[in-house]
Symmetry: C2
């Protein structure tokens, strides 16, 4: 029995929880596989449900649309970043925390699904909806963390500051991902991931310097 400790608050993976998680995973797996084989827009919710071994109706108990099912991949990706971000010490400057959190994204395990999703859906704009929402959801979480952290600091009550900061951090992360992907495509080699990490760090550095006008592009000290 995996009952680790008497007063273990989290970790009661009951059968129901496990089943639900498995079903959820089966759905996204099926959706991704159909995306690979049939291409974006060429399969229906029913196809996914069949492939996942559930009913059409059950699909909608988990996701509200095909897009949402695929966007859960993006959500998973961004959630790792948020987790990292939450772990940073409260005293650390916000932008450094962001750099650290984003660096964690340049990890094969984490980016692989996202990179494949990008390659499969690029130029189709079918993901646009849910993907933008995923980023925005992440923004909202960064905002929440930032607000809490800055609550004590002078000027930390300034809503504008916190909103603008959170939004800009997300935009920079997004920018780095976009540039990386446009340069490397689905390349997941070590070199490529190193470049991604550098891009993520550099983009936050740009933010920290206020986009110092025509600075030499790679002269920003970044690691």
């Amino acid at each position: 029995m995996p009952n680790t400790s008497p007063h273990d608050q989290q970790a009661p993976p009951s059968r129901r929880e496990l089943n639900k998680a498995a079903t959820r995973q089966a759905i996204t797996d099926a959706a991704l596989e159909l995306l690979r084989t049939k291409g974006p827009g060429n399969f229906t919710v029913e196809d996914i449900a069949d492939a996942a071994g559930i009913s059409r109706r059950t699909f909608f108990n988990y996701f509200s649309s095909t897009d949402a099912a695929l966007a859960s991949i993006v959500h998973g990706f961004l959630d790792t970043a948020i987790q990292q971000f939450r772990l940073r010490p409260a005293e650390e400057p916000m932008l450094e925390s962001a750099q650290a959190a984003l660096s964690a994204l340049a990890d094969p395990e984490a980016v692989a699904p996202l990179a494949e999703l990008f390659t499969l859906t690029q130029q189709s704009s079918l993901m646009a909806h849910s993907e933008l929402e995923a980023w925005d959801h992440c923004r909202a979480q960064v905002f929440a963390v930032a607000r809490e952290r800055l609550a004590g600091t002078p000027g930390g009550q300034d809503e504008l500051y916190v909103h603008a900061l959170a939004g800009s951090i997300i935009s920079c992360g997004k920018a780095a991902m976009e540039v990386w992907f446009s340069r490397r495509g689905p390349d997941l080699t070590t070199g490529s991931l190193t470049e991604l990490r550098q891009l993520l760090i550099d983009s936050i550095a740009l933010l920290g310097t206020g986009f110092a006008p025509p600075a030499s592009p790679s002269a920003v000290r970044s690691s």
Copy 2:
């Protein structure tokens, strides 16, 4: 006759153009009116079409969804900003151009429709999709302009710089709008609009100073 000059490139508002524009306007008007009276999510495309005096099918010749019809309001709003942005001299620092362009948004004519849309859809998230897309579309345009402008400057070929800058500018504009709306709601008085303009300017100023950590909130010289 409104034929102004012999070699007028633009301005051939033929009957067809005018009809289309009128239909388009009738649709958004009808959609907005239904939003007022029935509330978000409580009316169908057919309702809009009926109210606009066209067929359901014709609606889809103009917009791909209810959301899209309403989001055209946001598009119109953001297009004025882009127009202003395009008019700025190429030598001007990018962030100053952004401030100038955003200031133009604090105009009763421009914000009024958006403010109403916000009040009618807040907390319903029904607009989320198309609204995020509208902002992203604006971001893409800022990116295009910025890329062109920076092409000659040292480091201007740095895609990361341009992407991150465009995204951050949009995020700051969005942040200012959000804060303004959360403070003032649908208040369109002169004082309220002055505050909006100040927020827009301040948010870009924050960007320019690299979010100088816990700076005094209102000590940033802004006008």
